[in-house]
Amino acid sequence: MNSTPNAQRPTLNVELATAAPASNIKNRTANIIWRILDFVLAGIFIFAGLSKILDLDHLMADLQNLQFANALTDLRNLSLANPVEFASGVDNFKLLPWPMSVALAFYLPWLEIACALGLVFRFLYRGALALLITLIVVFTLAITAAKLRGLDITCGCFGHVSQNWSFPSHLATNLAILAALLALGISNRLRKPL
């Protein structure tokens, strides 16, 4: 009776010894993929924030035309964007009074950047994810409500880059970002640290 468990123990150890590194590699690969997604989403929100704070028009135009030398010059001469434009963009949704639109025009870009940095440095990570999910849900509801009310809105969500986006492409982008954020939120509860 006693011999059976004793005989099984070495077999189990061998199995564990071979299975453990394989499981570690799998975890590491998964963690690296999630970290890449962290960086991609952080990049999107940092760009969204900066495009409202800084005047990136010339820089973006030069990058689109592959004029990197000019882009470097623009990078050195970056100036602050006029917040009136983004405040007017928020005001165009006709959901908030003007003073609230101004307050959001000053506040939202920095909140996006702060949350994005939270994703990059894994600092206040869960709070950053929760805030970004809330923001993207609110943005999506706002553009949908505007569309349903027949408002012709040029959203300043990504500065001038998103000025000519159609409603379906806007909605698709927001939903893709939301799905990625939710995936990060779920994976964060399951994953082991690197």
Partner: protein
């Protein structure tokens, strides 16, 4: 767990407040918290009247409201018939003239939009929005 999440979110929200407040202070003269027009782009009825013949008055209200009554000598230029009315306005405008755009009241957006388009599309610089619009003009004219 939920408390931790809320606390983290609150910390981030507070962190973002600091640079936002700094930016608001930096741009305090460029943006008005009361209306969508910068203080430097607004003009009161008294100021605009003082400009006399150097100012062109532009009525941004719909055609029927313009037809009912308007500031003496004002030209109609609204967004409904923008392409048709803009050339008529430009024919009257001359360099050095100030443009005063008005709509019905303090809360209307038409004057703001027409002023913005005149600056952007017609490349005109001295474009001002009348504070209080047509209502303010009527009050001062009584």
């Amino acid at each position: 767990m939920k408390f931790l999440l809320a606390r983290q979110a609150a910390v981030l929200a507070a962190v973002a407040l600091l640079p936002a407040a700094g930016e608001a202070i930096y741009f305090r003269n460029n943006i008005s918290w009361r209306s969508a027009i910068a203080p430097s782009e607004m003009v009161t009825v008294d100021q605009a009247r003082a400009w006399g013949d150097t100012a062109i008055w532009v009525d941004a209200r719909p055609d029927d409201e313009f037809a009912r009554d308007h500031v003496p000598g004002a030209l109609s230029l609204n967004e409904d018939r923008w392409n048709e009315l803009l050339p008529q306005f430009l024919a009257v405008w001359s360099p050095g003239k100030k443009i005063v755009v008005y709509c019905s009241s303090l809360s209307c957006n038409a004057s703001r939009e027409v002023a913005r388009r005149l600056r952007k599309e017609a490349q005109l610089s001295e474009v001002f929005v009348l504070e209080g619009g047509w209502e303010a003009w009527l009050k001062k004219s009584r």
